[in-house]
């Protein structure tokens, strides 16, 4: 991972900024909300108190039957299709162990009150109401009460269709109908009755009970009061309803008995549409407390929401709903309505709030923009900084590499950053110090051989001249072989000393070499021809271009480098092996290669082969008569190659049965013409 990338990663830590901002905005929103909740609860309480003070008629405590407004024209036919819109509000009136056995629904229009009752009863034991067995057959008992008058009706039918229900009591009063007429229909699992009574004869309380002949039970049930949306209560409520809010009064079962006011969005719809993105942001990031609720915008007959149930159990509560306009939130506060210590219902006060999301969205937006800017700036600054840093480090590294490549012969002034005052400057100075050391050591190594040879020459001259003098003394014949041996030893010593000083001499010779334009092909061809007798019996192969390759350089040096390479190749090639010399022109220079069969190079040595005093020849392989190899040959090759701005490399052949040395030559730099 590059330094730049790492620093960019670090720049990501500025992402903590928007996170902190988000948390802050959320907290702020939370506080705002709490404030609004408190205000709304206070309003709701005030409203409830006002109602109490007015002695407004509160819904009765306990269970009740709700009379819906008629969903349309109701035809008395025993079928429920007229009731479809409100059928889901059917109230379960069955016995406690099976409440769904009987369900009933009431509605009224201007003239009539309609009743739909559904009884689950798969077995049939039907007789007409007038049949004496009616009391023990399947039937419904409907009890109506108006003030003090109570009338019971037995509803039964022997077959689907129209039925008459007789009152079981004396019918002298006209306050309640004496006969109920309706329609009876049944299917496989249940039967259904639909009946109506005139609104003028509307009872106060009703009870319905179903009698199943298979599971006989009491056919009596509790008298339930009737509830409906009260226009009187609504009017009273409207006087107190704060502007822009909706108030509803709910019975103990959650039935809406009064409603007033309407939700008004503070802003228009087009604005809201434009800010859909902000709404999405608000919903996703800020408002996790929203509770899903049935759409409050339509006038539902019954509300089924948590806050309502809490209020009905006596606890004040609030909730946040998504507003119908989809651009804000609705805050609902529910307080219990109490009358003489008894919870009679609940008051639900709702307020549409768009300012809250607007405010928090704005805050969030500014936090987001600020942190984005901070991120960009921090990222940019860090990127620039790391670019500069890595550029400097790379320059230093390149300089160090370069210094290493040329064996420590580096001009310290060429090291970058040496004057920098920071840690990189320190590093550069350390490098410079290190390179100085390396330079000194390399210099020492470089001159060691020539110094040594120089120092050895004088004692060697003493030995040699003494031996020469000894020749002229009359020595016993037995001494002569020793003289010979001593002379041989001195010769070899001399050869070693010469070889040691040779590299140094070569450096000077290369430095003083004069470049000329010459045909490299001709030089190599001339050399190759002269190698033939030396290389025999090994095979000599060559691959030279037919056209001249002109080059600016010192031909005798090239020839000398080739000599060294061939000499080196020869000493490693077995007698039945081969030596291959090739020359070819490349785009970037001339490539001269000498390959030979023989043992491969150890991998660790490949880079060091061209260094001074590095030799692969085992000392035991040197025959006593030969000059020992000091590893200067390839060093000389490198010097010559370097003088021609080229590079020397060695590698094993791919089949592993040989070695190839390659010289890339580019030619010596042309010197400017000397002034005449």
């Amino acid at each position: 991972m590059s330094l730049r990338f790492k620093l960019l990663l670090i720049a990501l830590s500025t992402l903590a900024l928007p996170l902190a901002g988000w948390l802050f905005v959320r907290q702020m929103e939370e506080l705002l909300r709490q404030g609004q909740e408190q205000t709304l609860i206070a309003s709701a309480r005030a409203l409830a108190r006002s109602l109490n003070a007015l002695n407004a008629e509160l819904p009765p405590a306990g269970a009740a039957l709700y009379v819906h407004p008629a969903p349309g024209k109701i035809t008395i036919d025993g079928y429920a299709d007229d009731w479809k819109r409100i059928i889901s509000y059917a109230q379960k009136l069955g016995p406690p162990n099976d409440p769904e056995k009987l369900s009933a629904l009431l509605c009224s229009d201007d003239d009539w009150i309609y009743l739909l009752a559904n009884v689950r009863d798969a077995t049939r034991n039907r007789v007409d109401a007038r049949d004496p067995r009616a009391a023990v057959s399947d039937h419904l008992t409907l009890t109506l009460q108006r003030e003090a008058l109570v009338r019971r009706y037995l509803i039964a039918s022997g077959a689907p269709g129209h039925f008459d229900a007789l009152t079981l009591n004396d019918a002298t009063d006209n306050a309640l109908p004496t006969v109920l007429e309706g329609a009876w229909q049944e299917d496989g699992s249940s039967y259904r009755i639909e009946l109506r009574l005139p609104r003028a004869q509307m009872p106060d309380k009703i009870s319905i009970a179903a009698y199943d002949s298979d599971a006989p039970s009491g056919d009596t049930a509790d008298m339930l009061p009737l509830l409906s949306l009260s226009s009187q209560l609504s009017d009273e409520l409207a006087q107190f309803a704060p502007e822009g809010m909706r108030v509803r009064i709910l019975s103990g079962d959650g039935w809406v008995v009064a409603t007033a006011g309407a939700l008004i969005s503070p802003t228009g719809a087009p604005m809201a549409r434009r800010r859909w993105l902000e709404n999405v942001v608000y919903r996703q990031l800020l408002a996790p407390g929203l509770t899903e609720a049935a759409d409050f915008s339509v006038a539902l007959p019954r509300l089924n929401a948590t806050e309502v149930w809490q209020a009905l159990s006596g606890v004040t509560s609030t909730a946040w709903h998504r507003s119908a306009a989809d651009s804000g939130v609705v805050l609902a506060a529910a307080v219990p309505l109490k009358s003489s210590g008894e919870v009679r219902g609940a008051l639900l006060l709702e307020q549409a709030s768009e300012t809250l999301p607007l405010l928090t969205n704005r805050a969030l937006l500014s936090v987001a923009i600020a942190s984005l800017l901070a991120l960009i700036v921090a990222g940019g600054v860090l990127f620039a900084f790391s670019s500069v840093l890595s550029l400097r480090i790379r320059r230093l590294r390149d300089a160090a590499d370069r210094a290493l490549r040329i064996s420590g012969k580096v001009d310290n002034a060429a090291l970058p950053l040496i004057d920098a005052r920071d840690e990189l400057g320190d590093l550069a100075r350390s490098f410079a110090g290190l390179l100085d050391e390396v330079n000194a050591y390399t210099d020492y190594l470089r001159t060691l051989a020539s110094k040594l040879s120089h120092e050895l020459q004088t004692p060697l001259a003493i030995v040699k001249s003494s031996l020469d003098n000894l020749d002229h003394q009359s020595l016993p014949a037995a001494a002569l072989p020793y003289i010979e041996r001593a002379r041989g030893g001195a010769e070899r010593l001399g050869a070693i000393v010469r070889a040691m000083s040779q590299a140094n001499g070569m450096e000077r010779a290369i430095g003083g070499a004069e470049a000329e334009d010459f045909d490299l092909t001709a030089v190599v061809r001339g050399c190759v021809e002269s190698y033939r007798p030396i290389i025999a019996p090994r095979r000599l192969e060559f691959d030279l271009p037919s056209t001249p390759i002109f080059m600016h350089g010192a031909p005798e040096l090239i020839a000398q480098a080739l000599d060294k390479l061939v000499d080196n190749a020869r000493s490693f090639t077995p007698d039945d092996g081969w030596i291959h010399i090739a020359l070819r022109a490349r785009d970037d220079g001339m490539e001269l290669s000498v390959a030979n069969s023989g043992p491969p190079l150890p991998p660790t040595m490949q880079d060091r082969l061209f260094d001074s005093l590095v030799s692969l020849r085992p000392s035991a392989a040197t025959k006593p008569s030969e000059t020992p190899h000091l590893g200067l040959g390839l060093y000389v090759v490198r010097l010559i190659t370097a003088a021609h701005r080229g590079a020397a490399s060695a590698r094993n052949l791919e089949d592993g049965h040989g070695v190839e040395f390659r010289l890339l030559l580019k030619g010596m730099p042309r010197k400017p013409m000397a002034p005449t």
Partner: protein
């Protein structure tokens, strides 16, 4: 009475060896260990040939200094440098100061003796009429083997003894390629290839100084050199 030779050499063993050996060859030899000592001796009487070591005791270039002194006093005195220093730079310095030859210390006593006699022979030959047999002529080149003298277009080319022998080797069989070993053998020097190359270069330069169009010494790469006419 043999010819007188002075050896200036700070290493007593070598000095003693050379004095003994050259005495055995029939020369009258005197050895000196330092430049002042030699200068004092030369103030009274000049030897006929001087062999000087470059580094003399505390003076690394004392030999060069002495050579300059001697050359100023006697332009014709044969001077040979015999030294452990074998760099081209030292060789060139020595020869520029007017030394007649420059030998490294690994030369054998026989070679040294041969050089000395060659120098004396040239000294003698310069005072004798030229004998026809020893003169080789090729176009503008005239080579007098006895006098060890080479002229080009009638102008003398100032060659050292080593250089003279190299030219002699090449000229004796014009057109034949002489490899480095042969040149080394003929010139009786034992040096490395690079030194041969630089000798040839110097020879060329000396000819070119007289005639800018000189190109009679041809390099045969990988083999050696030949004289072309």
């Amino acid at each position: 009475m043999g010819r007188s030779i002075a050896i200036v050499e700070d290493e007593p063993s070598i000095r003693a060896n050379y004095v003994e050996a050259l005495t055995r060859f029939g020369y009258q030899v005197a050895g000196y260990g330092s430049r002042p000592e030699a200068s004092r001796a030369f103030g009274t009487r000049f030897p006929e040939l001087v062999i000087i070591d470059v580094g003399l005791g505390d003076e690394p270039d004392g030999g060069f200094e002495l050579c300059r002194e001697l050359r100023a006093k006697s332009p014709a005195l044969p001077i040979i440098f015999l030294t452990a220093r074998d760099s081209d730079f030292d060789v060139i310095s020595g020869l520029r100061l007017g030394a007649d030859d420059y030998l490294t210390k690994d030369v054998s006593l026989h070679h040294l003796a041969a050089r000395i006699s060659a120098l004396f022979r040239r000294l003698d030959a310069l005072s004798k009429p030229t004998s026809k047999e020893t003169v080789v002529e090729h176009g503008p080149l005239k080579l007098e083997a006895e006098r060890m003298r080479v002229t080009w277009n009638g102008e003398e080319v100032p060659l050292t003894v080593t250089e003279f022998w190299m030219v002699h080797t090449l000229v004796r069989f014009p057109g034949h390629v002489k490899n480095r070993d042969q040149l080394m053998r003929e010139a009786q020097v034992v040096v490395d290839d690079a030194t041969i190359t630089s000798h040839i270069k110097r020879i060329r330069k000396k000819f070119i100084a007289i005639d800018a169009a000189f190109d009679a010494i041809e390099t045969v790469h990988g083999v050696g050199y030949r004289w072309t006419t």
